[in-house]
């Protein structure tokens, strides 16, 4: 019996995804049971569509952030990049540039921010936290300068259609943001597990010097991770402006902390080398579901933050606890 428990604990620690998924299912069940009757629309397709659309932009950033954090880095500039990417794309379209060209330009802005962050971190050796903190402030400032604080509107309808539904066989309708989210998460999860290039991200985060001695081009890998967050954040910006039919300089404010929380809840370690895209995505979904459930339960809307913070600290603490520590804690309680 004890042996089984021990094995189970090991299995759960090794596969964070199962644990979060379990918690997620438990959460759903309790929200479903908490308020019986017809007015509880928690378990309806319509509500899940809302949840999914709500997390769809964060999910793109979560994918990039997972890479950065596994490589032992950190990126605070994602929220600002989201804003600037959306604005650049929007401004160009309003000025008459073709939609695809404007989108590529928006993504390039994200890539450029990533390259600059990555170069400063690897070649000059500034701490990632500081580098991207500065990046976050500068990029947000640029977004405000470009827009003069008035949102970009009048986006072409061929573009805003991206915020709408994809139609299949004439009767299945799935919002494009959800489609994009699912595709990006699945592809990224597969590549991070199986591709040769992305496997290097784990080695770099696991032990940077050992990675160098293994012949891994460490700086190249780290810069790549920042470019990926940049591009994915800009993509998030483009998608959210398509959905909201406008791009504003305040878009994505505070997104960086939400995204980092989700990645950490999903099992990544800030010291690097550990984490998966699927775990991080489930972390984000968990937070999204709980926030949604609390709204439906009509819990005080400001409780959302309290709960999100508690999930974060619980998830990380659960990781740190082992039997030895529990025993010690128990002994301390008794003494």
């Amino acid at each position: 019996m004890k042996d089984i428990l021990e094995r189970l604990q090991k299995l759960l620690q090794a596969h964070r995804e199962f644990v979060i998924f379990g918690v997620l299912v438990l959460g759903c069940i309790s929200f479903y049971l908490a308020q019986p009757g017809e007015q509880n629309h928690f378990m309806t397709i319509g509500n899940w569509r809302v949840i999914a659309v709500n997390i769809s932009t964060d999910a793109l950033m979560v994918v990039g952030m997972t890479l950065v954090i596994i490589a032992g880095g950190f990126d605070l500039s994602v929220g600002s990049t989201l804003a600037l990417g959306g604005i650049v794309c929007g401004k160009l379209m309003v000025a008459g540039v073709a939609v695809p060209v404007a989108m590529v330009a928006g993504l390039s802005v994200g890539a450029l921010i990533g390259i600059v962050n990555g170069l400063i971190i690897t070649k000059i050796g500034v701490n990632p936290l500081i580098t991207t903190l500065a990046g976050m402030i500068i990029v947000r400032g640029l977004a405000q300068v470009v827009t003069q604080a008035s949102p970009v509107t009048g986006l072409p309808s061929s573009f805003t259609a991206l915020g709408g539904d994809m139609e299949l066989f004439g009767w299945v309708r799935i919002p494009w943001p959800i489609v994009l989210m699912v595709v990006v998460v699945l592809v990224a999860d597969f590549l991070l597990r199986r591709s040769r290039f992305l496997r290097q991200v784990y080695y770099v985060g696991g032990n940077e010097e050992a990675a160098r001695f293994s012949g891994i081009r460490v700086d190249r890998v780290r810069i790549f991770t920042y470019v990926m967050t940049g591009v994915l954040s800009a993509l998030a910006g483009i998608m959210s402006s398509a959905r909201l039919i406008s791009a504003s300089a305040s878009a994505g404010d505070g997104a960086e902390l939400r995204v980092i929380s989700a990645v950490v809840i999903g099992g990544a370690s800030l010291s690097g080398g550990v984490g998966t895209v699927l775990g991080a995505f489930l972390g984000l979904l968990l937070v999204g579901v709980i926030e949604n459930g609390m709204e439906i339960m009509r819990v005080n809307i400001y409780m959302k933050n309290v709960v999100t913070g508690m999930i974060l600290i619980l998830a990380v603490s659960a990781d740190r606890l082992d039997r030895e520590k529990l025993k010690r804690f128990w002994r301390w309680l008794r003494s």
Binding site: Q200, Y202, Y203, G206, N207, A210, F213, V274
Partner: protein
């Protein structure tokens, strides 16, 4: 229990039938030990034999499952490391754990500084530090930052810090593993002095020679059990080795190889400012070339420059007559030069990752098609290597953190050899690993030579250099001070060259 020199003295530390179990790791089974006042008690055993566990149990890091620990005749209840510290049990770990940016005095009294009006009294701090260092009879400026000291002096500061708490029992875990010979001798003198003041010393080591130089009694552990305890005067190295491994080591060093081939690597006048100067040599196929010298003589720097980790300022390197342009380790591995770093944990291993992840890290290309890795191929190759190199691990999914030092080193070698290198540079390949693993590593290196690979071995252990290498280059202060052939080499000759004795003893 056998009585020795310390007959009659009261035991300071006593372990009675101590057992400890871990889920995956070998631990302790029914171990009893007595360390008496004024005694230096050596503890020896292969890696994984339970030495570290024993120290951790006594140090309060892990509670024992069964059995008793007594200090000065009283049964201890150790909950935390702090309990052990308060009772006067001090541990000096193998890895130096000083704060490099604080001064010597600050390190010695870390957490326990003398204060005046709530502020640190710097003058008093330095005075007391001098007092603590006094019996060590070495000159260490108490004001200097620890990061600036040599490894040998850091080790002494580490011991001084332990002594500052006037302990009853001092436990040392392989304190000499990164020390030069003269530093080791100085340390042995210091420890003898400390013991004569009446404290007990438990000394964990891998080096047989040291046991006979300094210990009063020796306990041998094997697979978590005590297999021998004897006064040192009543035993001999052969007996200790036999009880450690449970078998006779047929031969400690593999016999010299057969044919040494033509020139493989030629190094011409490579120089790196304030590290090494004008270093030239050749390495031939199937040859083991030794780099001997004192720590700080520039051997590691030369090796890391060849590997592309450090940049050289001048000079040229030719592989098979072709000039190499190596800018980073990736280039170097691509041209067939592999490097086994001295600092296993810092530069070699991904401690939080599995055996298989560690094994494939330098060789991902080999296990992938169109950029996608094949889990089955990686697992298969790794399982093969685990078998071939006899790496002891419960599974290839085990985190390497839980492997013993010898097995970690074999894993690193396996990783490099999977690359089929033309040249292998092994930096202190057997440091801190047990006798059995050591001889396996030696055999591996020799077998590699027989396949035509050129091997460079950097080693601070003279017997290893003498036993293993076909030719030895001796470094002194960043230059090659002489070359000695296997036939002509003696410890004296090498030490002479290494200490800058001048006179060249060249012979081929």
């Amino acid at each position: 229990m056998t009585m020795g020199i310390t007959e009659g003295a009261e035991p300071i530390l006593e372990l009675r039938h101590v057992s400890k179990k871990f889920p995956a790791v070998r631990a302790l089974e029914d171990v009893s030990i007595q360390v008496k006042g004024g005694e230096i008690h050596a503890l020896i055993g292969e890696n994984g034999a339970g030495k570290s566990t024993l120290m951790k149990v006594v140090g309060g890091i892990h509670p024992a499952d069964t059995g008793e620990i007594l200090l000065d005749g009283e049964v201890l209840r150790l909950g935390t490391p702090l309990d052990a510290l308060r009772l006067g049990i001090r541990t000096v770990h193998q890895e130096i754990s000083l704060a490099p940016n604080l001064t010597v005095a600050e390190n010695i009294f870390a957490g326990n500084e003398p204060t005046r009006y709530g502020l640190i009294d710097r003058r008093e701090l330095n005075r007391r530090a001098l007092e603590v260092l006094e019996p060590f009879k070495v000159k260490i400026p108490v004001n200097s930052r620890v990061g600036l000291l040599s490894t040998g002096l850091k080790q002494i500061v580490e011991i001084a810090r332990a002594m500052a708490g006037s302990p009853r029992l001092l436990m040392l875990d392989e304190p000499t593993s990164s020390l030069e010979r003269h530093e080791t001798e100085r340390l042995i003198g210091i420890l003898r002095g400390l013991a004569s003041s009446g404290i007990g010393i438990l000394y964990v080591t891998h080096k047989l020679k040291e046991i006979f130089q300094l210990a009063d009694r020796v306990t041998v552990l094997r697979d978590g059990r005590r297999v021998m305890v004897k006064p040192v005067s009543e035993t001999h190295p052969g007996e200790i080795v036999r009880s450690m491994v449970g078998r006779e080591l047929e031969r400690i060093y593999p016999p010299a190889g057969g044919d040494i081939g033509g020139e493989l690597l030629r190094v011409e006048g490579i120089t790196k400012d304030s590290a090494f100067e004008d270093v030239s040599f050749t390495l031939r196929r199937g040859e083991i070339l030794g780099f001997s010298g004192l720590i700080g003589a520039g051997r590691t720097e030369v090796a890391q420059s060849l590997f592309g980790y450090l940049r050289k300022d001048a000079g040229a390197v030719y592989l098979n007559g072709e000039r190499l342009d190596i800018r980073c380790p990736t280039d170097s591995l691509n041209s067939g030069i592999a490097y086994l770093p001295e600092e296993r944990k810092a530069l070699g291993l991904y401690l939080g990752m599995s055996v298989v992840d560690n094994f494939v890290s330098a060789n991902l290309r080999k296990y992938s098609r169109l950029g996608i890795l094949s889990g089955r191929e990686m697992d298969g190759a790794c399982a093969g290597a685990v078998d071939m190199f006899r790496i002891r691990t419960p599974s290839i999914r085990q985190h390497v953190r839980f492997l013993s030092g010898g097995n970690q080193q074999k894993l690193l070698l396996a990783r490099l050899l999977a690359l089929k290198p033309r040249i292998l540079i092994a930096d202190e390949p057997t440091r801190g690993i047990d006798v059995g693993a050591k001889s396996e590593v030696h055999t591996m290196l020799r077998r590699l030579c027989d396949e035509g690979v050129g091997v460079i071995v950097i080693s601070s252990e003279l017997p290893e250099v003498l036993g293993l290498c076909d030719r030895i280059l001796v470094f002194h202060e960043g230059r090659i001070s002489g070359e000695v052939s296997r036939r002509a080499a003696t410890e004296e000759k090498i030490m002479h060259l290494a200490t800058g004795g001048g006179l060249s003893v060249e012979e081929t």
